[in-house]
């Protein structure tokens, strides 16, 4: 990039807020999907919306691509600077601007860490519901971009159900506002289109979020099973019974093995083939009955041990294991690929059985830890990056899993997004006209395509080409996840 641009960036932001040094840039060559790497030309750290707008206008003048980045915990390469250019890192815009407890909303900057919001509003008996497992590190701006989910989205909905209004900088550098604190759509739902657009429509610089009253009562259960099939059938049965647990999470034997060997040790039953972490919340009255109904369904499906957390401490421990599961994989495997797909909940037993057969066929272990209640699978393919024979197989296996999910009526991603990782799969679920209509909307927001290019849409290169990148070792993923969960991610 031209010296002149760097000079101007420094005029806007001051010298230390602009990085162009090759070694310092290394940190920004990928997000938590470490499979793909591409170095930006510069990384900038604005404090204000006006600065973001100025940077964007400068990039426009010089026709330089640019993209926003939150905490870099994304798992689909959304914050990957595919074509180089400027990364606009928003972590310094990390203030909770105001809390309106009476009307139950808060206004926050995009760099605020998800968990910090709930901490800030806790004194009012309120919280922010969407809770990605990465919530100790990921930014609310990144959540808005990805329409992130989390264990409790089963009952409370995804990010999109909790965003009331935004301020944003358009790809041309204008500052706009959309939505209102009442969350009432006026005309077309532009805000609804922006949430989940993966940082390809606008750069969000301020967010008005809905706050919820903390539930009166919570009960957390752990049910252990000797067979994966019984466990997944239990999920289907709970949903079919019309019960809406706050969370319904699945962990299999491999996951339990990893978690119990790690710092996230949660006391999961080590002789189980699979277990469910189930939470119900709401009014204290009636909750016991709902929880009993769940226990009954578990028993009917041959659960040999159903444990109810006695106190908050035990509850927190059970959740620590679940939230640390990705990070714990480093204990049992040097490398892994984190997958994310959705299937209709009734198809869980057969799909998990098929994934187990694939695992045998490819000779690659798979750990399953996922949001079972909404059918959102996260198969983790475990491998050793030093073994060329395994590296060659992981991508074929990953592709087979994706196709399996699509074949039963599922979706490519439930929460991590398409980003760079899955764009070549888009043709599996969308036709040419489907993609053309999405492109039309993208062009309305981002006509020149300078904002976050080369994402989401397939480029029609042969799928095998993605495979080439996999020769890069992915050993960093585990390390990265560890960082995220300790809240030390960049």
């Amino acid at each position: 990039m031209k010296k002149e641009v760097i000079k101007k960036l420094r005029e806007i932001l001051g010298s230390p807020a602009v990085i162009e040094d090759e070694t310092e840039l290394l940190v920004y060559e990928c997000d938590a999907l470490t499979l793909f790497k591409s170095k930006p030309d510069a990384v900038v750290f604005p404090w204000t919306t006006e600065q973001v707008a100025q940077i964007v206008r400068l990039a426009n003048e010089h026709r330089i691509p640019f993209l926003p980045r939150g905490a870099g915990t994304g798992l689909s390469g959304g914050a990957l600077a595919v074509e180089g250019g400027i990364i606009i890192e928003l972590q310094r815009m990390n203030r909770v601007l105001s809390i309106d407890a009476d009307n139950r909303f808060a206004i926050v900057q995009p760099g605020v860490v998800n968990l910090h919001i709930s901490q800030a509003v806790a004194p009012y008996g309120l919280y922010y519901a969407p809770d990605p497992s990465s919530q100790m590190a990921c930014s609310i701006g990144g959540n808005v971009a990805e329409n992130s989910g989390g264990p409790h989205c089963l009952k409370y909905g995804m990010t999109t159900n909790h965003i009331l209004a935004i301020e944003a900088v358009t790809p041309k550098g204008e500052i706009i506002r959309l939505g209102n604190a009442a969350g009432e759509t006026v005309g077309m739902d532009l805000l609804g289109a922006i949430v989940g657009s993966e940082g390809t429509f606008v750069i969000v610089t301020e967010i008005t979020i809905r706050l919820l009253q903390k539930p009166q009562w919570v009960k957390t259960l752990l049910a252990a099973f000797h067979s994966v099939e019984d466990c997944s059938q239990t999920v289907s049965d709970i949903i079919a019974a019309g019960i809406v647990p706050a969370a319904l999470e699945f962990v299999d034997a491999k996951t339990i093995e990893a978690v119990e060997a790690s710092v996230y040790k949660a006391g999961y039953p080590q002789d189980a083939a699979a277990a469910l972490l189930i939470e119900v919340d709401g009014f204290r009255e009636g909750l016991e009955e709902t929880s009993n109904a769940i226990v009954e369904i578990c028993r009917r499906n041959r659960s040999y041990d159903v444990r109810v957390a006695k106190d908050d401490e035990e509850r927190a421990r059970l959740w620590l294991g679940r939230k640390g599961a990705f990070g714990a994989m480093g204990r049992i495997s040097p490398d892994m690929i984190t997958m994310d797909a959705v299937i209709p909940r009734t198809r869980l037993p057969e799909v998990l059985a098929e994934i187990a057969r694939m695992s045998d066929r490819y000779g690659l272990a798979v750990a399953n830890v996922f949001h079972a209640g909404d059918g959102n699978l996260h198969p983790l393919i475990l491998f050793d990056g030093r073994r060329q024979d395994q590296v060659e197989k992981i991508h074929r296996m990953g592709e087979e899993i994706v196709k399996l999910c699509v074949d039963v009526g599922g979706a490519l991603s439930g929460e991590h997004g398409i980003g760079y990782e899955k764009k070549e799969f888009m043709n599996l679920v969308f036709t040419e006209p489907d993609l053309e209509m999405m492109m039309r909307v993208k062009r309305v927001f981002n006509p020149d395509g300078l904002l976050n290019p080369s994402k989401i849409f397939p480029t029609r290169r042969a799928c095998t080409e993605i495979g080439k990148h996999t020769t890069t070792s992915t050993a960093e993923i585990g390390k990265r996840v560890d960082e995220v969960l300790r809240g030390s991610a960049r």
Binding site: D102, N103, N147, G157, M158, T160, N161, I176, R177, L178, N180, A181, A182, E184, T185, V186, G187, M188, D189, L190, G192, A193, V195, G196, S197, Q213, I239, A240, G242, V244, G282, F283, E285, G286, L287, E289, V342, I343, P344, R345, T346, H371, D374, G375, G409, G410, A411, G414, E415, I418, M426, V429, T431, P433, M437, V441, R443, V444, F445, I456
Partner: protein
Amino acid sequence: MTIDGVSPSTVLRPESIEELAQTLASEKGAIVPLGAATQTCFGNPLRRADCAIDLTRLSRITEYNPADLTVHVEAGVPLEQLQHALLENNQFLPLDPWNGPRATVGGIAATNAQGPFRATGTIRDWIIGMKVVHVDGQISKAGGRVVKNVTGYDLQKLYTGSLGTLAVIVEVSLKLRAKFPRTATAIARPADESGAAALIASIRNSALQPISCEWTGPENEVLLRFGEHPRAVDWQLKNLPAADWRVLEDADEAAAWEKLRGRYGQLGPLVLRVIGLPATVHEIIKTYRPAAWIAHALNGIVLMQISDADEIPQIRGKYRAVIEKAPLEVRRKIGTFGLTDTEYDLMKKMKEAFDPEGRLNAGRHVDGERN
């Protein structure tokens, strides 16, 4: 058939999505998609109509998976028919648009129609996927068939509330919920406005979680509906803030809500949907002194009957406000949505991107907003 003073020369009733697509591929005039036609006077005035498309024959529930709590329906299915099918499995959709159960699923989506269940959300929260036919006859879909999905852009959200001006909605995929194990409604009539406002404030600041909370005026009636585990409903009824409550269940309860719907029907001819905040509902009522109103009190939204259209610009100076009902003369003069410049600009570009010749429901939405 006449809408806003224009009469389409042809009315077509396609039996299938493919037939509709073929029709649109060859039709070159102005197109007016119609559901049960319960909401045809919402929006800016229709400008042209060559060909009306009655979608009520697209009336199949194409797939219903009770165990997955998902359903896929053609746009012409009336809400009551869908609810009826869902009830067989103890499931339902918390949607109760004012325009009534005859409204079609496609029509509710296109108008983003709401009712007292507003407190639990709107149709956008239940839609997981959508199929549409474009003005040139192309068929496309967005979203999918599973309850959680971030694959591609959420275009179904854009189509929702676009009044059929971007594309014709032909199939909607929805997630469902189990029927509330029990519901009960508590009704009180505080002596005056301040009494009602105080009552609602104490409800907002309590642990109660009503699934509807309506404040109607000038009679100052407060209606609360609870839907939960029977014991949680009981607990909430026991913990109501002090007032002279009447508690209704079953047929009496249903009658009370049907009566409220009638009340909505009587509002008018000029009704504004004023968007404030939960804590400003009383302020809105005090300031504008509507002759009659229904407020979604927990959402900060007031549907208010005003007498003079000239008040609208003044109200819009302070609050966002959508024209809910108005005579044609008023709608000719004043835009329905009161869009900000940003919204206007982006929506206009959306319209141009999907329907460059302005043939879908010409004038109804952004294209008729500022004249």
